[in-house]
């Protein structure tokens, strides 16, 4: 460690005062409104988040949730696809939709003076969809084309192959939100309508507003527009088995005409609101999440020059998911790079972290809060995470106090628990079988 940094670690950081006042309102039908008032700019980010992401796709109809959120923008009883966008853009706004694993979302970025108008439009989009078959055909064609384009990219194949093999059959995160070619072809307009009828009810979605708006006025407006909608019972996901890697397994996906190996190595990780998440995040920061300053970054990129992109992360989701190490390296270095990652994992598990590493990580989190909530978009993302994972409005303060109390012993215990002997390793590469070291693992080769 450099002298300057050593000196820096001796200085106490200024006590961070977390100001993140979230406002909350609700209607009788269960519709919730969360807000963060910030008058810096005359604009509002308005989101409606539906608790029905791709994890709710029925088996064999993967990609359905994504189609539904996009079909909402393809037309209402009163407006065509083009007219919906024209309406927003005539007022200078932006309109976007998104489908993730745990949620679907529509966002309008608007100048504050047009907020009421945009709320009116959201009401129309959410409650009066046209759901025309010709629109579904067009949308499916567009998405199928995008999937076909993605298949040109090794990183897409890697992720797809990894999740397919990592999660048990029928697990909600076993497919990408946009679905697959086979499953999309099977989806019909009746599926769209059924999914919509099942999940798009006021008690299953919530608003997030960040920016320059008046809380009471917005509440009244939403009340007028949405209070006549009825709440309905929303079926819960029925998850029979959770990810569990029973043995070490390596899958090599052979792809010709590439000159690197794309590597993903993964372990099981807990659900996003599990008490282990915070220590696990700090452990990950030290191991591979802190970019070039992490252990993986320092060793594999800085010292060895083996990769441009190397790191680790874990996906924070409603249900248990994955803790991942990933990198890309020249084919001839594949074995060596894998051995280095395994060695570092072993070091972390057996020897644990050092006190100064923990100190640096703590300082990062303390100082990083204002940066992580600088923009309206950042703020809206944090509110969404708080609601979906039920983290509580005091989450940011709680995060800091928990990090403050973390000890090396706690992190080392977490490392021992989550870095298991068994893992899944997937490689997309133009490597030949005989050029890989023989390992005592289950190995599968797939030609693409």
């Amino acid at each position: 460690m450099n002298i300057f940094l050593t000196f820096l670690l001796l200085i106490n950081l200024k006590e961070v005062e977390i100001k993140f006042p979230i406002t909350a309102d609700s209607l009788e039908n269960g519709l919730k409104i969360y807000g963060y008032i910030d008058n810096k700019l005359p604009m509002v980010r308005l989101r409606v988040v539906i608790k029905a992401g791709s994890s709710y796709d029925p088996v064999g109809k993967e990609g359905l949730a994504n189609l539904v959120i996009n079909m909402l923008l393809r037309g209402t009883k009163y407006r065509s696809y083009e007219e919906i966008y024209n309406f927003v853009e005539n007022f200078g706004g932006r309109l976007e939709s998104q489908c993730d694993y745990d949620f679907s979302q529509i966002e309008i970025v608007t100048l504050s003076q047009y907020l009421d108008t945009m709320l009116f439009l959201i009401r129309e989009i959410l409650t009066m969809p046209k759901f025309a078959n010709e629109d579904l055909i067009k949308l499916k064609t567009e998405i199928l084309g995008r999937i076909k384009t993605s298949e040109n990219f090794p990183s897409y194949l890697l992720t797809k192959e990894f999740i397919k093999n990592f999660y048990p059959k029928d697990y909600p995160y076993r497919h990408l939100p946009e679905g697959e070619i086979n499953s999309l072809e099977k989806i019909e307009i009746s599926d769209i309508k059924n999914f919509y009828e099942t999940y798009y009810h006021p008690n299953n979605y919530f608003f997030i507003l960040v920016g320059d708006f008046a809380k009471e006025k917005v509440k009244d407006k939403i009340d007028k527009l949405f209070s006549n909608l009825e709440k309905k019972e929303i079926p819960k996901l029925n998850i029979e088995s959770f990810p569990k890697i029973e043995k070490r397994k390596m899958i090599i996906v052979k792809k010709r005409n590439i000159n690197q190996s794309y590597i993903l190595l993964g372990f099981e990780a807990p659900s996003g609101n599990h008490p282990d998440v915070i220590p696990l995040r700090v452990m990950n920061f030290i191991f591979g999440g802190g970019a070039l300053n992490s252990r993986l970054g320092k060793l594999i990129r800085e010292k060895e020059g083996l990769a441009y992109d190397v790191g680790s992360y874990f996906t924070r989701r409603v249900y248990p998911s994955q803790f991942i190490c990933d990198m890309q390296t020249e084919i001839k270095n594949t074995d060596y790079a894998i051995d280095l990652i395994l060695e570092e994992l072993k070091n972390l598990k057996e020897k644990g972290i050092k006190r100064d590493e923990l100190e640096q990580a703590k300082r990062f989190y303390f100082g990083n809060i204002p940066i992580s909530i600088d923009s309206y978009s950042d703020k809206a993302n944090i509110i969404r995470e708080i609601i979906l994972l039920d983290l509580g409005f005091d989450y940011l303060s709680h995060l800091l106090s928990e990090i403050k109390d973390l000890t090396c012993e706690k992190i080392n215990k977490i490392a021992k628990e989550y870095i298991k002997d068994n893992f899944l390793l997937v490689i997309v590469s133009n490597i030949e079988k005989e050029n890989l070291k023989v390992r005592d693992w289950e190995v599968e080769f797939i030609e693409r």
Binding site: N2, K14, P370, D374
Partner: protein, 424 residues
């Protein structure tokens, strides 16, 4: 509508403080007391635009090396120190500039300035580290080679410019990267990392007088080493259509085609910008509606008026499910350009675009880092950060006839360049 937004635009104009030091260092400060952070940026006027053909990629490689430590902040301590204060940092290199940025809490930007001054004056540049980092950059280049996009873009660049450095990829050609020497790197650093070739941009919660004191303290004593001559690259005129076909194992054929246009300070720049929005801006754009939504010819379309400084290109990037659709889409785009010349552009369409541009001016200010990026890049590309404010005003004045005129002037067969990637 447009009038309402225009008044909003004038009411929310940016206040930017501009200054310079006797050593030639320029300073731009955008104070925003609503933010709790400061984005600290140092911009050097160097990128692939400045590279001779035997040194392609050297500016980008130097950017990587600049994280390897300086005299008073050895090894990785620059980023380590920033992380230990909760900050985040990174850098990027483009044709015209290299930018180092760090976002940090408002109480700690002093430290970033101190480290940046050391980076400017005393970069360590270790010979052994140079060899290791070259390998990292080669891995970065390979990442691009394994996608269909990089080879297609590089092919397009090569036939678009025969002599001008815009033909060179920012990351450099692999055989050139392999041959770059440590001495090349040291010379490049000494020549371009000087106060008279740099701009400091501070965006966020700073007090101007305090910030200026700090900048003077750390950067004031750095002497300029040499005068840097302004580079004025040139190219051969295009005298007929240029077209190449590449083949590779891809699932979807792709094409980039475009037309050489004008430089950034040309009057035609603004009508070309409006034309870009008419044709390609989002779901309401004419080409999305026609080629994807109505005719199902393309999987995706993007592009626009790419003008950085010297003569640029207006391009279209098409991805189709099969080759026949790709070529049909190309013809449809040419037909649409004809339509714009021959038919009246609806006032509603023009107004919508102008309104959106003005509103985007407000939306862009959400993040202090983004404002800093806009100020720094405009200062280098156009000679003044004020271009940022000038842009929406000039867009507002663009007339329908000017849009038709730029199509007639630039979008013809003898000025056309295409690179096509077909499945093997």
């Amino acid at each position: 509508m447009s009038f309402l937004i225009l008044s909003l635009f004038f009411n929310s104009s940016l206040f930017v403080y501009k200054d310079s030091l006797p050593n030639g260092l320029k300073i731009l400060i955008y104070p925003d007391t609503n933010s709790e952070i400061v984005s600290c940026q140092v911009w050097y006027k160097v990128g692939s635009y400045y590279e001779p053909e035997n040194l392609t990629g050297i500016s980008h490689l130097l950017e990587h090396m600049a994280f390897k430590g300086s005299k008073n902040f050895p090894k990785n301590s620059y980023s380590e120190t920033i992380r230990a204060l909760g900050g985040i940092d990174n850098a990027f290199t483009s044709e015209l500039y290299t930018c180092y940025w760090a976002d940090i809490g408002k109480d700690y930007y002093d430290i970033v300035l101190k480290m940046e001054a050391d980076r400017m004056a005393n970069l360590a540049l270790d010979r052994k580290e140079f060899e290791t980092e070259k390998r990292v950059v080669m891995e970065e280049r390979r990442l691009g080679e394994n996608t269909p996009y990089s080879p297609l873009w590089e092919g397009f660049g090569l036939i678009s410019y025969f002599l001008h450095p815009y033909r060179q990829p920012v990351i450099g050609w692999m055989p050139i990267l392999e041959r770059l020497t440590y001495e090349d790197l040291v010379n490049w650093y000494k020549n371009y990392y000087q106060p008279n070739n740099a701009i400091i941009v501070l965006s966020g919660n700073v007090k101007i007088d305090e910030a200026m004191k700090k900048i003077k303290k750390y950067f004031g004593k750095i002497k300029k080493r040499t005068d840097i001559k302004e580079r004025k690259p040139f190219d051969l005129p295009i005298t007929g259509e240029r077209r190449i076909i590449l083949k590779r194992e891809v699932k979807t054929p792709m094409m980039i085609f475009g037309y050489k246009t004008c430089a950034i300070n040309d009057q035609d720049f603004y009508p070309l910008e409006v034309l870009e929005k008419i044709l390609l801006w989002g779901k309401t754009s004419r080409l999305y509606q026609k080629l994807i939504n109505e005719k199902n010819l393309l999987v995706s379309i993007s592009g626009g008026s790419d003008i950085q400084k010297d003569t640029g290109i207006f391009y279209f990037f098409l991805v189709a499910e099969d080759t026949s659709k790709l070529f049909l889409a190309e013809k449809e785009i040419e037909k649409e350009l004809e339509n714009i010349i021959n038919e009246k552009i609806k006032e509603e369409e023009l107004n919508r675009i102008k309104t959106r541009i003005l509103a985007e001016y407000v939306f862009q200010r959400e993040r202090v880092r983004s404002i800093g990026f806009v100020l720094g890049s405009n200062e280098i590309a156009t000679g003044s950060y004020k271009f940022y404010e000038e842009y929406p005003k000039r867009i507002e004045q663009v007339k329908e006839e000017e849009i038709k005129e730029v199509i007639k002037k630039y979008f013809h067969k003898d000025n056309k360049i295409s690179a096509i990637l077909l499945p093997k």
